[in-house]
């Protein structure tokens, strides 16, 4: 059984060169650091910021009836099947059998109904033998995708204690500081690979990257403007599609045609390319829309280029120009530099913007994660968060989405600036990393190379 000379030649020229592809290992503790410091883990707590970190944590602890896959399509979660009546107002969801909360109690239809009522008091939710019926006050053809939002995570609330049915149970919770989660062996979707996850909260980006470099963390957040630099320094950086929206949002509707012209002048004066290339170090994309092009396929129709000539023409047509205040989040260094650049661009057109930390400003610089991978749900949620009219979707999916978003932009309440990529730095032993295009992490699929089986 001697190999031939030809085989030896093959051996020299064709061996696999990269580290082996291997099956996931079980075990170990994944150590995370994050900037946010939530005081509550309750998915229905509307006072909590709708940021990436809260979303990622919520999905570890709480199941939703429906989940969205990476293409934004609804998949069964705690609900194994669903049906809708003609009219899209009355939905029936069958609860997956044999699922328990972390305290061992069954996830019953009563518990699911109670949780949904807490999350949305406007819905009528009834428990049936094997499921729940949700009656909405208006046709809601996208209800499954709506129910995939983290705020509809199914939680049992009793005696001030919060319990979920997700892949990880809360082991220790020091609000705003530290959270330790333990993998559930009996999770219906299969036990997560790591045994536990430890999350340090309230850490600045700098503290996080130091913790990673010192081997005290396995996974940390990286600011969009720092991702390129962190990668150049040899760190392992994983980034999402542009999934965070940054925009200027006026506190009220335009009161006159003149004010509309000034808003148009401001929009035309913004040098988004420069903001992205210089301030963000390429950590995003210039945006002319609320939803990014990868989600809609039509965002390129909306211009993002600076046009100083048209901006000045629009500005010069108005005799009395007010001074606008521009509010931003003072705890966000990136928001500060972008706000200052916006004011600078506006000045080139003859508009005066005064930056302020106050929440009572004429316009605010807003940063929001894309709420959903379903484009219609994402647009509706963004509109609701900004206090804009709810978009209406009539006709075929692409055209109706385009019409709805065009209508929101024509209101001149928002001036889109950028879509930012989220980024994470990972240690070399973190495997199976999965991130959805909207920046959501799937940590239940992560495993550690050093973990013992």
């Amino acid at each position: 059984m001697r190999p031939s000379g030809l085989l030896l030649l093959v051996a020299i020229s064709m061996s696999m060169a990269a580290p082996a592809s291997t099956r996931p290992h079980y075990g170990g503790t994944l150590r995370l650091a994050m900037r946010e410091a939530p005081a509550s883990l309750d998915p229905a707590d509307s006072s909590q910021p709708g940021n990436f970190a809260f979303r990622n944590l919520s999905r570890l602890i709480f199941d939703t009836l429906v989940t969205l896959d990476a293409r934004g399509q609804a998949q069964p979660g705690l609900s194994s099947a669903w049906q809708v009546d003609p009219g899209n107002q009355r939905w029936q969801f069958t609860i997956r059998r044999g699922v328990t909360f972390h305290d061992g109690m069954a996830v019953s239809s009563d518990a699911v109904a109670a949780s949904l009522r807490t999350a949305n008091p406007n819905w009528k939710v009834f428990a049936t033998g094997e499921g729940v019926i949700v009656e909405c006050d208006a046709p809601t053809p996208n209800l499954p995708a709506v129910l995939a939002l983290p705020r509809y995570g199914i939680a049992k609330r009793s005696g001030g204690k919060l319990t979920g049915s997700g892949p990880f149970a809360i082991n220790r919770w020091d609000p705003g500081k530290k959270l330790t989660l333990t993998a559930r062996d009996d999770y219906w979707g299969g036990r997560a690979y790591v045994d536990s996850i430890e999350i340090d909260m309230g850490k600045s980006f700098r503290e996080q990257i130091i913790a990673l470099d010192l081997g005290k963390a396995d996974l940390v957040e990286v600011a969009p403007d720092q991702a390129r630099h962190a990668a150049l320094e040899g760190r392992r950086i994983e980034g999402s599609a542009p999934a965070e929206w940054m925009a200027l949002v006026f506190s009220r509707d335009s009161q006159s045609a003149d004010e509309g012209k000034l808003r148009e002048a401001l929009a035309l004066s913004l040098d988004r390319e420069s903001m992205n290339n210089v301030l963000l170090q390429g950590g995003g994309e210039p945006a002319g829309t609320l939803l990014p092009n990868w989600m809609t396929g039509y965002a390129f129709l909306f211009p993002t280029m600076v046009d100083l000539q048209r901006a000045r023409q629009a500005r010069e047509a108005i005799r009395q120009v007010p001074v606008w205040s521009l509010g931003y989040d003072a705890s966000d260094p990136l928001a500060r530099v972008i706000a200052e650049r916006v004011a600078l661009n506006a000045r080139d057109t003859g508009l005066t913007l005064q930056t302020t930390n106050s929440t009572l400003a004429d316009l605010r610089l807003v940063r929001m994660p894309l709420p959903s991978l379903d484009a219609r749900v994402a647009l509706s949620q963004l509109a609701a968060s900004l206090g804009l009219p709810q978009p209406k979707f009539d006709g075929d999916p692409a055209s109706s989405l385009f019409a709805a978003e065009s209508s929101l932009l024509q209101s001149q309440r928002v001036i889109p600036l950028l879509h930012l990529r989220t980024a994470a730095a990972l240690s070399g032993n973190v495997k199976g990393w999965q991130e959805d295009p909207d920046g959501s992490w799937r940590l239940q699929n992560v495993w550690l190379e050093t973990g013992k089986p």
Binding site: A17, P19, R71
Partner: protein
């Protein structure tokens, strides 16, 4: 009430001819030829399901009645998606044809009453074709259509010393654990997934669904679910197959209709194939074999925990290679358990009888530099202790999730998770002798 459609299995009406399989060695040449011709050549003109016609209709509607008859138009098509130049040209040609049918007359831009810029874009799920229509001094209008994105095509590898051939068997959105094809007239195929065993009969040039047998279990499956199908010996009609899943054993039985009985079981799984049998205990809450072997490999009754095993037949005895959980490859010769250094193999290995070289080769999964999360499979000869590459690595468009030697040993069934489509694809791997 009407049911919301989600997570549906592949529609057989849209199943591609690639779901053929190699039925038996008698048909190797002809079937491979058919499959190579179907999968190796560039795609034939894509069926865009009338999208060009739809877009042309929307453009003409948006223009409305014009003062000139026929309407003169200039059309520019820009590709903002991964569509190939050939496909873009194809779409442009078909769109112009449809517009001409609707009475549009094409002229250079400077003579056109209407100019249209069509952008071939995409969103998360579909291609989105957007037409911006400019008509005189009017504000431009926009119309669009969305077109479902088709699955990617696979391509045969280059020829090498031994040629590893990849023959598509089946594709579905749900994770495939194993596939077994039995000879006969008609041939039958069994597909094992988390929900059960589905059987298909080869008729009229494609696999037609025959029956689905559900696996009832109350314990959750592990996240990296594995399973194995073993056909009954000598086409045993009373006991056509066994299915092994973590903590569950299912026995297929003939009858009218055929049935399957499942029970909780920690019995060892067969990891070899005739004539080289070896059974190993599977850890039911994880994704690996515990290392307890039966029968023993020579004097060895235990080995390190492992993911997969491959027989290495020899003149005197059969040795076994194990891809162990710690990332190494162990060679069990019946007396010693030795680590084979620096192979770079992945977790999945299997033995294939090719008749080339030493007669038996080991297939191993692995990764190739710069290929991201896409794996490769490569054949190796194992003479002495050092496996030596016997074929070029075969690129697969995704991660290998299963690799099992087929009953009979002439091929292996591999399952990959296609990184582009998100679907699971099972295919048969065989080795052809070199030139």
């Amino acid at each position: 009430m009407r049911c919301a459609a989600y997570n549906s299995r592949i529609s057989l009406a849209t199943a591609t001819p690639g779901m053929l399989t190699l039925l038996s060695s008698r048909f190797v040449s002809s079937v491979v030829l058919v499959l190579v011709s179907l999968f190796a050549v560039p795609a034939s003109p894509q069926n865009w399901a009338g999208a060009e016609e739809q877009l042309a209709g929307k453009i003409v509607s948006a223009i409305g009645p014009t003062t000139t008859a026929p309407t003169t138009m200039a059309v520019v098509v820009l590709n903002r998606s991964p569509l190939s130049t050939a496909m873009t040209d194809d779409i442009r040609r078909n769109l112009l044809t449809q517009l001409a049918v609707l009475g549009i007359h094409f002229v250079p831009v400077e003579q056109a009453a209407v100019t249209v810029q069509v952008s071939l874009s995409e969103d998360l799920r579909s291609y989105v074709w957007v037409a911006e229509i400019h008509q005189g001094a009017n504000a431009s209008s926009v119309v669009m259509v969305s077109v479902p994105r088709p699955a990617a095509l696979s391509v045969e590898p280059e020829a090498a010393a031994m040629v590893l051939r990849k023959i598509p068997l089946w594709s579905q959105p749900e994770r495939i654990l194993d596939v077994a094809v039995s000879d006969g007239n008609p041939a039958r195929m069994l597909v094992l997934d988390a929900s059960g065993v589905a059987s298909y009969r080869f008729q009229e040039g494609r696999w037609q669904p025959e029956q689905s047998l559900a696996i009832v279990h109350s314990r959750p499956w592990p996240r990296d679910l594995r399973g194995r199908l073993v056909l009954g010996k000598d086409n045993n009609k009373d006991h056509p197959f066994d299915a092994y899943l973590p903590g569950v054993y299912c026995r297929g039985s003939a009858g009218a209709p055929p049935a399957m009985t499942c029970s909780y079981s920690d019995d060892p799984w067969p990891v070899g194939t005739d004539p080289f049998s070896l059974n190993a205990s599977f850890t039911s809450s994880r994704n690996f074999f515990s290392g307890v072997l039966s029968p023993a490999v020579g004097q060895l009754t235990t080995a390190p925990a492992f993911y997969s095993a491959a027989a290495v037949p020899g003149e005197k005895a059969t040795r076994w290679l194990l891809a162990t959980v710690d990332g190494q490859v162990h060679l069990l010769d019946g007396i010693t358990d030795q680590v084979v250094e620096k192979l770079g193999w992945g977790s999945d290995i299997a033995t294939v009888h090719s008749g080339c070289g030493s007669g038996w080769q080991v297939l191993a999964s692995g990764s190739r530099e710069g290929r991201g999360d896409s794996d490769v499979v490569q054949a190796f000869e194992v003479a002495g202790r050092e496996p030596i590459a016997a074929s070029a690595p075969l690129d697969v468009n995704g991660a290998i999730t299963a690799l099992w030697t087929e009953s009979g040993g002439t091929g292996a069934v591999a399952v990959l998770h296609n990184s582009e489509t998100g679907r699971y694809e099972a295919f048969r791997l065989t080795l052809a002798c070199g030139h």
